[in-house]
Subunit: 248 residues, 8 copies
């Protein structure tokens, strides 16, 4: 339930179109729904503009299913990240139209159409191995109602591939750059575009990569301005941030 | 054997109700029981108020069973933490009433009733994924003879859920806050209550979470006063500390 | 020189209003100006929308003065960060209207008026000690042509101070949150507003703060969505990013 | 202003002993006092039981003086930690009775007598070099209204010194253990007493001490139960926590 | 081949008891035996007093078997550390008397009796979970020809268990202390005995133990003198060092 | 396609031996080939002298096969590193002459003979366990057209083994030193030869080895001059660098 | 007072040569002397064989002077480490024969002659910059009654310098190896001698030396057996350990 | 003394042009010169091609002067790195022609002309602040007899500056890339040239730069091939390595 919808219900109560009892029923779970193991934040869309997203890792299959079961009673799109195939199978039994992206490990259920703005988000990767994280970003942005352009495998080892696509990247309203290893792509893109760059370090690499630390530190220390950083492998966070910017 | 019980035996020896030989038999293992691979600290309850707890990780199934076998000869409640299901099965063969909490991975055997104080301990989590650690804390506090209130999934991303339960938290004599990721909940709770807060960082999260380091550092650096910290995922330690405080 | 100005010169050359020789003279330094120890990136404004900013740390007083001396020949606003008072004194000899903010350690020279958008940027700090970094962010945003609202000392240890100002923060188009210690403020604000949050960890704190690492990790692991992070103490980076977003 | 005092004022307003105008004047700053660079949390005592403490590091002398100047208008004891001698000199000009402990770097102003409980807090150090941190803990506990016993230089290299004082330590209601280097004292004390132990790692040591990291990790990994930890060198935090426990 | 044996062969060559051709055959591999994937250091015993030990981890089963096959042609005791059961099975096919300690993961083959000195080595552990590392140390010392006393599970959480065995520890010529978690036992023992203490940190523990880092740092920072440290879980290294000292 | 081949094609177009249409067809993919999930850098050989190498880790079997399928249409030698056996099986279906080195985990396809220079590269390891990384270096150098001498297991614990082979090492034009644990071999070799040494730290070791960090730091801090370092376990990088130097 | 001296006094009391009152006076401070800020461990020599050593860092000049003033009342040699020149000046006023080594920063007072064993300790450094730490080790060993041979600047960058002195090193009963940077010397020496090697990493070096971490990790991971390690720059600890071994 | 010079002397001895006594005098110090605090490695040039270089940090002024005093007796060029101005003043008293580069902190004395090869070394920096390290590299390469091209301030934030100079870089035989912050320049250059790249991370930057760690990790993880890395701020090491390669 977003702010518009909330206002409409309150107007109807005010005008008597909805009785106080009916209104109470509708709004009872507004602040949050208590499930015991979880308190689903129904108020979230009113407060920050989007419904709650389910971070599935560390939850049991039953918990994920239970949370989605409740969320289905609301008229919202649903996004689950870091979901296992087993979770997908469980959710499918209560919602056959759920989609699962194996690479990005996302569950998506589309209940209402969100009109996308004219502008788009560019999701760029340094290598092929960075694609799963990039897909998480892209799918997040899409379910939140954005158009996304994917530009994959344009890392600085062959920088002409980047220049070949630079106009598409420059045309975006927000740019997500996904890179592992030394993460240099974020700085190079940051030096070439005049739009906010959201950098996502990935854990791709080995040895002194230390699980993505090398790319993380590189991106935080970017010599280019206009680059901010999210957590290692956090495609969701980058897609969400880019969506926020794209919809301003 | 606690200090009361020890005094009683010594009085009986003094009065002749128990012969010296009988007394020797009873007290022989008092300092510790030598099992070869372990020296069970029977003196512990006299010294610090609670019997020894078995940290099962790194021990073989046979060792855990052997230690419990000996402890059963004493009239104490028994707690095993980080126990596997295999250990549970082995212990059940010698003690059918043993209970196993799969989530918290605890073994519990109740041999005597401990009168709980009037006051209670609040165990609070930021998210659903923090529940296993929280349960370890809660079960520890309960077996040590405390009443526990569980308040789960009230993390700062939807802070109104916390405010909704704040009176229950404020009513406790000691508060255990369990949180992963950025661990902000400990500071927020610490700023809202006037009771000692025991913060437990969890390894929930990914990327620059570094196995719980992010929450650990955050909690150690809490801007709120009255917050102290135990090891990452150490629900037992927090439950024990809270019990100590609750029973002062 | 921005894209508009460049187009105008080229049009004048095309129409003969400016001779090819005059045009060459004007545009000669366009890609960059070679100073030996530095190559000033004059092309930057065309490419990313803002002129180059001088990061003064690690440069000699003479180098900073030399770079500004050249930049003064262009009609641009000038920003120097991490500047010492000695640098300020040196620059004043060639540009008396230079301003120095002692707390933020910024040099600013205003050569042209930039029309600020209607919307504003909120710069929020957890404590008083975070103000120098926050001022660097605010001054950066202002020299780049934005209106800034400062909300200082609203950290989570006394969270009612934050709620008292929450409407002013929610009204911004982009929010910069500056916090040291455990950096929890970024997550709390991120959970309360529907605008992009740029989090700046500061090195304020001691012990296991490790020079800002605690706040950095906390912010990267924020459980709230819509939070991205810049380098420790990097007020400039946050102000720049916020300006980019505010001007979209 | 604590809860008792607040109730009294409200009763007087209710009974007409204080006019609404007078009441407004008295209570106007209740939530916090806005100083621009700081928002003093006057509501804190109502909420968590103690007035706000000033962490002086990172603040200018003027800011510290300004904050204390305002706090002096309330009838509270005042504690400033990590204060420089220069700050002390500045505060003395507006409050001659301020006291400064050079070792602990604390500013203290006693405005009202707080009745200490019967029980006391033990502050224990491993070595002589740990005394400054221990003094910060002890002074904090004392200004908050507690009796403190100091037991210094009883580290495990000469463990008989500890056993010599063990009864004094066991008699306390809460024990603060301050140790650098390998921090082993916390575990040894934790294994000997049945009271909550607050461990404070110090940065005393060199080489692989890494600024207190060795003691911090050791204390977090204590094999003894009933030990929780505060930040490196955070004597204040330990003293505050111990006070909370002692006053339960 | 040790120095004594080498001298004897050379004497026999000198006296003609062994022909030059025979001597060449015997001594050909003295510096090292080339196996392609390994160069077995036959000269080692002459140089440092003990034959080479096989560190099995990272080697294939075939490589371990091949190395032992060659070493069996010499009249030496053989020790393989970090050996898998599969390696044991492979070696058994060429040397049925090989022994395998499952806990310590050692392979041992006794080919000649080494007369042990009168003095003994004490191997002490903090907990039951440290026993595998302690066994690696003990077995190493034994195969090198030393008498070993094992004192297990005397960690500082129940320090009276240590005092109960302190005379046995004090009687040793060298003491190996094996401890995980906070590793405090090394400092406590170091403060109680007047013999060299070799401390072995173990990776036992969890959370901020960071794979043994907490115990390692604690032991390196021991406040007790006469404590030196080997690598985490390096029972072999400690047993070897203790043997060297015991045989001086 | 290298620079020579490119010039030849352009000459033929210029002379009319190849029509413009034919030339377009040949050169169409020159900058890179778009595969969607990858952009194969065909221009690489022109730019840096060698064709692109496939880093297989993090790619799916299908992606690796698809990339090689395209590369086979060019007349180049192909190298895949960090390849699984499953990848090898998949590639064999489209290219039966592909070779797989199980130890080094490399895929190699030889399509054209590269004339090796007279000089050779020495690949040296400290131990047997370092051989897989050394083989990756050696195979890389060989497929790039170099002669390689392998000198394995000459670590400093038995330094006479190194001196025995020192002339072979000194005779090389570039030396690759592969070592785990403390990585001392790089410094010792660096102090003995007058040729560039490329040091490769390996993750061989345990405990405070921290996945190769000990050897990495040691090599970076080498007291010998003429030593530079590549990433942990990066045999490919060392072989490539050595090849570059050998071919100058 | 050592064990011999203690026995003698007790014998005299037993035989009446010393009255009980006199004996009480003599033995009153035996366990420790309470100075308030310090508890001097007089019992130490009885327990571990040497009197207490003063670690001066972190103590005030007055405290160091006070501790030495008391210790002078006993007939012991005195060693202060990490002492400043100011401390030396203060001690000289109460004990003119105190000696100060500026490089090693040691205070030494010789009150009784200790007969050194026949055997000696070798103190070896990799470079000139490691000498201060080596001198701390050598002076410690000397004051404890050992003969020391110094072999400086024989690092592996010019390994022939080491071989030139190897016989002197091999002749020692214990070897202290002091090295910074990559610390390779410890492994090389460990592979060449059959005596215990105490390795001391120093903080000499820069960049990725990280204050001695590189040498520390290298030494802990030494591929040579018979090497144990003390803290970074801990010359005292190494000298003490070597003395213990030399006197067995 | 290099190999050529050594051969010549030996020939003259052989032919009787130099008497054995004269020869002994000349060659006496060949292996090394013992100065007590240092053993100067005269043999080094014979062994690795260049005379020893003096790393001045951690040495006293007197030691540096003494070492140079001896080296002046040989006919070699002398290089001292990390030298203070005070050292320069001291050396000038014994060698007036010594030169000091304040930025690079190098001492240089040219005693003989070394013929530089035709080819040159490119020394490239990302920013102005990296120049001191770059100058150390350039001066090292020059004193060792190489021609150097300096290309400064071409970092990726304005990548067109790099492309403007790319031909000069491509023309070099070896390329030194000096960069702090995120160190991305090394990867970008590595992807554009076909010559060995020696990457030097600098400690330029702040916050999560962690003293150069960000650039170091980035360079070790470079996605471009043909990049190897030296220690943070180690301009000398890079210049030396590049010289080795340039002279092959």
């Amino acid at each position: 339930m977003n702010t518009e919808e909330l206002k409409e219900i309150l107007s109807k109560i005010s005008s008597g179109d909805i009785s106080v009892e009916e209104g109470t029923e509708i709004l009872r779970d507004l602040p949050f729904k208590e499930l015991g193991y979880a308190k689903i934040d129904n108020h979230r869309e009113v407060r920050v503009g989007y419904p709650e997203v389910i971070y599935c890792e560390g939850k049991t299959v039953e918990q994920v299913k239970g949370i989605i079961e409740f969320m289905l009673t609301k008229n919202n799109n649903i996004l689950g990240t870091r979901a296992s195939e087993e979770m997908y199978e469980a959710v499918k039994t209560i919602c056959p139209e759920v989609e699962y992206n194996k690479l990005a490990r996302t569950l998506t259920i589309r209940k209402k159409e969100i009109k996308a703005p004219e502008t788009y988000i560019a999701v760029v990767t340094a290598g092929t191995s960075d694609i799963p994280v990039a897909e998480e970003a892209a799918i997040t942005a899409e379910i939140l109602g954005n158009r996304v352009e994917r530009i994959f495998d344009v890392g600085v080892a062959g920088i002409h591939r980047l220049f070949n696509r630079i106009d598409l990247i420059r045309g975006a309203r927000a740019v997500v750059v996904v890179a592992g290893m030394e993460g240099a792509l974020a700085s190079v893109v940051g030096g070439l575009v005049d739009k906010p760059v959201i950098a996502v370090p990935t854990s791709i690499g080995y040895g002194a990569n230390f699980g993505g630390l090398s790319a993380l530190l590189a991106m935080l220390n970017s010599c280019a301005s206009g680059v901010s950083v999210v957590n290692i492998d956090n495609g969701f966070g980058a897609g969400y941030m880019a969506s926020m910017i794209n919809k301003l």
